[in-house]
């Protein structure tokens, strides 16, 4: 019963945040300069009836509140509207492009986390100063490079551009992961385990990871948002046909239906990742207690 209530609250909170995000984006697009300007309407050859027809073809220019309600209701039915910029259904555009972004993000998340673990874990068992300095230096260096610049550099050097997401996720995850694991490794029970001569792998898996798991899971949720941010820069710079590039073009073209849908979907996706990670983390800490 408690679980059902928890998930109901979570779903409600997710929907409310996504709706709020979508509505605010719609308001922002609506008041932005240049919104509603149709190049066809500027053609002096068109008569009044044609201009009225052009106006009628853009429902978002009429009663804005009514349009928002209609659009939201249609979204629940799976109809995301027609993109003004691409002159195609938004759902089709999303269906076409999401695999590119999903692949980029999945590879980036896996690579970033693998790098962070490779650099963070050995330092716990064998506190080698050089290794820690190397890891800290690399993560510090990568934190100081904008992801778009990194993508451009790798693109110019014909390097692995897809690695940018991993290189952007790694330093942000590593800094936090190292702090959490170091804190867990300094707990008295870990010291006692070391004193009893238990092997390093067993200490990490049995004694450090369970203590750090709730926070690491929460970090995993946040890292989805980091990966999407880096993917946007990579897709725009390297002209990858993904969701990030679509969002950039929609924003530049003030494409209301597309931008509202994208904002709501991105908000939902990141919130869901955070919620799943949060639920797992709370389960884990309850089990630990």
């Amino acid at each position: 019963m408690r679980t059902v209530k928890h998930f109901a609250q979570l779903a409600l909170s997710l929907a409310a945040t996504a709706l709020l995000g979508g509505f605010l984006t719609a308001v922002l697009v609506r008041v932005s300069p240049g919104f509603g300007v149709d190049e066809h309407a500027l053609d002096p050859a068109r008569d009044a009836a044609a201009l009225r027809a052009i106006q009628a073809a853009r429902p978002e220019q009429g009663d804005f509140l009514a349009y928002s309600v209609r659009h939201t209701a249609a979204m629940f039915r799976g109809d995301f509207g027609i993109s003004r910029n691409w002159n195609r259904p938004v759902a089709g555009l999303l269906r076409e492009r999401w695999p590119v972004t999903a692949q980029l993000m999945a590879a980036g998340l896996l690579g970033g986390w693998a790098l962070a673990l490779v650099f963070a874990l050995p330092g716990l068992v064998y506190p080698a100063r050089i290794w820690n300095a190397l890891a800290g230096g690399l993560s510090g260096l990568l934190l100081c490079v904008p992801s778009a610049a990194l993508a451009l550099l790798l693109f110019v050097c014909a390097g692995p551009v897809r690695a940018v997401v991993a290189l952007a996720v790694f330093p942000r995850v590593f800094e936090y992961l190292r702090n959490v694991l170091t804190h867990a490794a300094a707990q008295p029970h870990v010291m006692a385990a070391r004193a009893r001569g238990i092997g390093p792998a067993r200490i990490i898996l049995r004694h450090i990871v369970p203590v750090a798991a709730p926070q690491v899971l929460a970090l995993a949720g946040v890292s989805v948002s980091m990966a999407f941010g880096a993917a946007v820069a990579v897709e725009v710079v390297c002209d990858f046909p993904g969701i990030g590039q679509l969002a950039w073009k929609a924003a530049l073209a003030r494409d209301l239906p597309l931008l509202v849908t994208l904002t709501m979907l991105v908000t939902m996706a990141t919130q869901m990742a955070n919620a799943v990670a949060g639920t797992l983390a709370s389960r884990r800490s309850e089990a630990g207690a």
């Binding site: 605010l24 800094e175 702090n179």
Partner: protein
């Protein structure tokens, strides 16, 4: 007492081991001193010198950032042009220093704005609790659930794009300040909530201290370390964000230089050009200095 050769050699090796340990500990303590004190001082000196050079960029570089040397478009590194010129014949050093001036002046200004906004929003939510707190928390959740770069691109693209270069600088950094409050507000809200029921505030209330006096005389001074930490962390974030926006063509517009639009030259010049890479190196150095100057981080659980 006679000492055998083996004992002598063992004694010598023990002494040498002790000496090496002593020298290692001296070295490590020296490096610690260097890392904790001198490194911060070095970072401060570097930033101060760079700021001075950027402030007097025209005198230092000998040309304005917009001046075109029409006879030298795309010139390589030389005594006259230490970083070469771009495709329009503008001195890269002058442009780099002007871009540095913009970043070093306006990123802290945006950080002040964002921290002030975060203090207002987070402080109000933490102090009042109840419905205002719930509304603010929902707003913070919404802001933080959108990836930062996506939020920046979406909002920046919806603002006027065909504005004057000076207005584009103002819009870019004002936007960073206006959107970058959420993470700081969450930290400040937590700090205020912790302090709201603390002993010293209870005592102050019992002594008749209420309202603005309580906020300004009791709460604000105790929040100062949190606010300063948020301010310092925001500066490198805003510098990086401006560079990202500039690279995506939504930042400061030409002819005004910024680190973002200087890095865009990488798109056109596909060969390795030290003049273009210098911008990236300087940016790394400045952000590295800010990392050194940041308040030392504690473990997240502390």
């Amino acid at each position: 007492m006679r000492v055998s050769g083996r004992q002598q050699s063992e004694g010598r090796s023990q002494k040498s081991e002790v000496r090496s340990r002593q020298s290692a500990s001296l070295l490590s303590s020296g490096s610690c001193l260097l890392s904790s004190f001198s490194l911060r001082r070095l970072a401060l000196i570097f930033l101060a010198l760079l700021f001075l050079a950027a402030l007097f960029s025209e005198r230092f570089a000998g040309a304005s950032y917009a001046h075109q040397f029409r006879d030298f478009p795309g010139a390589h590194i030389s005594w006259r042009f230490p970083l070469g010129t771009d495709a329009l014949g503008r001195d890269r050093l002058a442009r780099l220093l002007s871009a540095t001036r913009i970043s070093l002046l306006l990123a802290p200004a945006a950080a002040v704005f964002s921290t002030a906004l975060a203090t207002l929003i987070g402080g109000l939510a933490g102090y009042r609790g109840g419905l205002p707190d719930r509304i603010v928390t929902r707003g913070i959740d919404l802001m933080l659930s959108l990836p930062w770069i996506f939020l920046l691109i979406a909002v920046r693209a919806l603002l006027p794009l065909n504005v004057s270069p000076a207005a584009s600088v103002a819009v870019t950094f004002a936007l960073l300040g206006a959107l970058g409050w959420a993470a700081s507000a969450r930290v400040i809200r937590a700090g205020v909530r912790d302090m709201r029921d603390s002993d010293f505030l209870l005592q102050a209330r019992a002594c008749g201290c209420h309202g603005y006096r309580l906020l300004l005389r009791q709460l604000a001074p105790n929040l100062k370390p949190v606010l300063l930490a948020q301010f310092w962390t925001s500066i490198p974030l805003f510098i990086l964000s401006e560079a990202n926006l500039g690279l995506l063509g939504l930042g400061v517009s030409d002819p005004l230089p910024s680190w973002g639009n200087l890095l865009r030259e990488l798109e056109t010049d596909l060969t390795f050009n030290p003049g273009i890479v210098a911008c990236l190196v300087l940016m790394l150095a400045v952000l590295g200095c800010f990392r050194v100057l940041l308040p030392p981080k504690s473990a997240p659980l502390d």
